[in-house]
Amino acid sequence: MNARALARSPVASVVYVAAAWLVLVPLFKVQPRYLPPLPVVLADGLSVWPDLVAGFWRTLVETVLGFLAGVVLGVGFGIAFSASRIMERAFLPIFVALQTVPVIAFGAIVVIWFGNTIMAKVVIALYLAFFPIAVNTLRGLELADPQRIALMKSFGASHLQLFLKLALPTALPNILIGMKLAVALSLAGAIVGEWFGDTVGLGVMLLQALYFEQIPRVWVLIIACGAMGTLLYGALVLLERRFVWWRTD
């Protein structure tokens, strides 16, 4: 990687933002209440390092479990919708309606059902992740080219072969789009889930920081959540580049 490519890489943009923060806050004498200086934020992060690591890890586990469950359910329902008009007519409107229910209201119910367990956070993450995946799976499966379907049929292909060899690969780029939308939502879901009561997690720390007006701590947690979201999104992009690089024509 040469200097020019390095200057344009995603890592470089993080450095630019950090440099701007470092320089501009003292330069314009920004009040710490609005934006504390970067060294103060970093020092605060170091002071709670063990809690931060434990919280990061817990929230990551909740997010990933909720996301994976959302992928399984979302792809499953997407396939069911594309296979059966009746399923789509019966369930899709319910799912659309569920999406309009505020996550806070839904979260309260989930906590009543599952208590303050990790399961409750996973279910809330799942609830947010599931819908974009189901819709994008359905859309992707509908993109299968009728002429290619005719070709496969002329070879004597069964329904299962049509699905596995044609419809599913056609849909994969769209499923990936749904997954990229869903991963950020499952992180938000896990954090909101933690607000209903827990002792470990980035969401717990965030709630405490807000309660005690620890502004630098809030910024530490914003950075931590941003890092986690970027990490998960980046993993999906790598997955996509390696395995789902084609575009449906």
Binding site: A150, M152, K153, S154, F155, Q161, W246
Partner: protein, 274 residues
């Protein structure tokens, strides 16, 4: 015993008897294909030409089993009447577009039909690999379709059709999208392959030169609703090379067919502009 078998005349490979295809109900009914009678002898190379929109593709869909013909006609394969959908999986069909799967390598595209038939992947690949040099694709086994030129993609599609080993091959304007130079190379190459493998071929085109150059018989369809206008046996000697297109015999046939096709094209044109 041998006397008995020779006594029975071999039935045509494919026979169409009074085949119709109508869409919708009267009075808004559209007739796409009407009263088509056609028979193709085993091992023959038959080309079919007609004005655009004459129902060629509908006819092909019916022959490949994708579309049932109306009940007043029938399709016979090797002398046996085929029920609706019975032809699926019995005829090697190559549509106009190459329809390669972008996520599969050239090799895996070529073996698609074999996989559908349930042949183990290793055997299917070995079988396809043997054909690569003959199809001018040696060294491109692990490439993806987007890395190939139009002519090469078309050859991959043809290989896929050939590997689906059926005695009857339907080709729907396979060279329509290629430039003139590539197209003429592909035509000679296709004749070589055909001479070697001896399958029965039905080839749709809108190019009269191509139809005469390739065919044992040229079939001309009328304007919509399509039916067979005339059939012309081509007796030019084989193997044919490029020079054949300038011989007086070729010119004579072309002149005759051109007049017929022109007449039908004018009808289509007149029908489209009331």
């Amino acid at each position: 015993m041998p006397d008995e078998t020779t006594a029975v005349a071999t039935p045509p490979h494919l026979q169409l008897v009074n085949v119709w295809k109508r869409f919708g109900e009267a009075p808004k009914q559209t007739v796409a294909v009407r009263n088509v009678d056609l028979s193709i002898e085993p091992g023959a190379f038959v080309t079919l030409i007609g004005p655009s929109g004459c129902g060629k593709s509908t006819l092909f869909s019916m022959i490949s089993g994708l579309l049932p013909p109306d009940s007043d006609g029938s399709l016979l394969l090797n002398g046996k009447v085929q029920q609706d959908g019975a032809l699926l999986g019995k005829i090697a069909f190559m549509p106009q577009r190459d329809l390669l799967f972008p996520w599969r390598t050239v090799l895996d595209n070529a073996t698609l039909a074999l996989e559908v038939e349930g042949m183990p992947r290793r055997r299917a690949r070995a079988k396809a690999e043997a054909l690569f040099p003959e199809f001018g694709l040696g060294g491109f086994e692990q490439h993806y379709p987007h890395q190939l030129s139009g002519g090469m993609r078309q050859r991959v599609a043809l290989m896929r059709t050939f590997l689906f080993e059926r005695d009857l091959i339907l080709l729907d304007e396979p060279f329509g999208a290629l430039d003139a130079l590539t197209r003429s190379m592909m035509q000679r190459w296709l004749l070589d392959i055909w001479a070697k493998h001896r399958r029965t071929v039905l080839f749709i085109t809108h190019d009269i030169d191509e139809a005469i150059f390739l065919g044992d018989k040229v079939v001309v369809m009328t304007a919509r609703p399509g039916t067979i206008k005339c059939e012309e046996a081509i007796t030019l000697p084989r193997p044919r090379d490029l020079g054949v297109v300038t011989t007086p015999e070729f010119m004579a046939v072309k002149k005759k067919l051109l007049a017929v096709v022109e007449e039908e094209s004018l009808k289509t044109f007149a029908a489209a502009s009331p």
